[in-house]
């Protein structure tokens, strides 16, 4: 059974990466700290049964807690299905492009954002993501497909990722 020393070691070794994951889910550093502290606190209370690889359990708590917060809290943002049209200048400034992409990601529903983050930042396979999110791998693929489509099809997002002429 995992013990306190294991938990402390896990927090020391993984908190940086998990904090970045939390940030990508919620897009705010203060909220990310809050989210991760809550997730790790919940993980600690169930540490005896988490097993040798706590990551899936912690990811699951992160995703579920974030989804709950997203639904129940005013988030200070107004998601819109249509991003504002922005002029695409030749050789567009990279910082501006990143900002546009960031806002495009902000428009994704939490489930789709979680899939994108777990797949492209945490580098998890679809079956692992499915287990974490409590759905089927088919659902993960369809969520990812929709999210990627939105990122690519959206005119603002497209301009943001036009790196070369």
């Amino acid at each position: 059974m995992a013990d306190r020393a294991d938990f402390e070691r896990y927090v020391r070794q993984r908190s940086d990466r998990l904090l970045r994951t939390a940030y990508l889910l919620c897009r705010d550093w203060a909220t990310a700290e809050d989210l991760l502290q809550t997730a790790l606190a919940k993980a600690w209370t169930a540490w005896w049964r988490v097993g040798d690889n706590p990551d899936p359990y912690v990811y699951r708590i992160l995703a579920n807690t974030h989804a709950t917060w997203w639904r129940r809290r005013w988030r200070g943002e107004e998601p819109t299905p249509v991003l504002p049209e922005r002029p695409a200048h030749g050789g567009a400034d990279l910082l501006e492009s990143r900002d546009v992409l960031r806002r495009a990601l902000d428009c994704l529903p939490p489930r789709q954002r979680a899939v994108i983050v777990l797949r492209y930042f945490a580098d998890l396979a679809d079956p692992q993501i499915a287990e974490i999110l409590g759905c089927s791998p088919v659902t993960v693929r369809s969520q990812a497909s929709r999210a990627l489509a939105r990122l690519r099809v959206d005119p603002a997002a497209r301009s943001a990722v036009t790196m070369e002429g």
Partner: protein, 266 residues
């Protein structure tokens, strides 16, 4: 050109690397655990009522009030309504029993050394289950335990008087697979006899569950049943003027941590 998946990976990696200096430490997590426990275990009405009943806190066993801030004690109240719903408890960190349950479908006795009149019992499950908790032969709590179909991890948490003054106490616990309880235990849960029959009927099977029995003290008794709709932290001034920090109810965002309303009673 349109973004590739590699571009997206690069963006996510770079975008999340800008939180320089930010970190979450073990101390941060410990603090959050204590905060959640307080919120989980304190019920708002009892504590609001406790503002006027602070003197009652003072009659709790020696040392309880002075030790409240964070490190040793957490304010506790029963997680579910019971025969005396407005009794609140102070839960200490003294663990009386800490046992793993490896077999479902049977009653597992968990003996513990009594040290005071009250105990707090936490029961968590490794699989989606329905759990029963007996104290002194009386069925005191039951409900979903473990990660359920809604992906919420539930546990039983009960606090109350523990018994007969013999110096020894026994908690009995049992788990059965989720779905084996008719109607999910609704509307009012099973009787003790029904629970006995159900557990016996399920039969033994490998399970993973965990029981922690902790010492607790009666803090105060109010006349109103507890409520859950409250927010924020409160500070109660003890009789000696010392602040007694506690929390008001379960935050909405932490509702899934525990403190799941007992079927039919919330």
């Amino acid at each position: 050109m349109t973004m590739t998946e590699a571009d997206l990976r690069g963006f996510l990696a770079q975008d999340s690397s800008e939180g320089v200096g930010r970190e979450v430490t073990v101390a941060d997590v410990d603090h959050r655990v204590r905060r959640i426990r307080r919120r989980r275990l304190a019920t708002g009405a009892a504590l609001v009522a406790g503002l006027s009943a602070a003197a009652a806190v003072a009659v709790a066993p020696s040392g309880s009030t002075s030790l409240l801030p964070d490190d040793v004690w957490t304010a506790s109240a029963m997680a579910r309504p019971s025969a005396t719903p407005s009794v609140a408890y102070l839960e200490s960190d003294r663990v009386l029993a800490d046992e793993t349950v490896a077999t479902g479908g049977r009653k597992e006795p968990i003996p513990y050394a009594r040290s005071h009149e009250s105990v707090s019992v936490s029961f968590s499950c490794g699989e989606a289950s329905y759990a029963f908790l007996w104290l002194g032969g009386v069925l005191v709590d039951q409900g979903p335990c473990g990660i359920q179909d809604d992906h919420v991890d539930r546990m039983l948490h009960w606090a109350g008087a523990d018994g007969d003054g013999t110096g020894r106490g026994t908690v009995e616990v049992a788990v059965v697979p989720a779905g084996s309880v008719p109607g999910g235990g609704l509307p009012g849960g099973l009787t003790s006899d029904e629970a006995d029959r159900l557990v016996a009927g399920v039969g033994e099977y490998p399970a993973r569950a965990h029981v922690i029995v902790t010492e607790a003290f009666t803090a105060f008794r109010g006349g109103r049943p507890a409520q859950r709709d409250c927010h924020g932290d409160v500070v109660i001034q003890g009789t000696g003027g010392q602040p007694i920090h506690s929390s008001v109810c379960e935050a909405v965002t932490e509702a899934s941590f525990t403190d799941v309303p007992f079927p039919g009673t919330s």
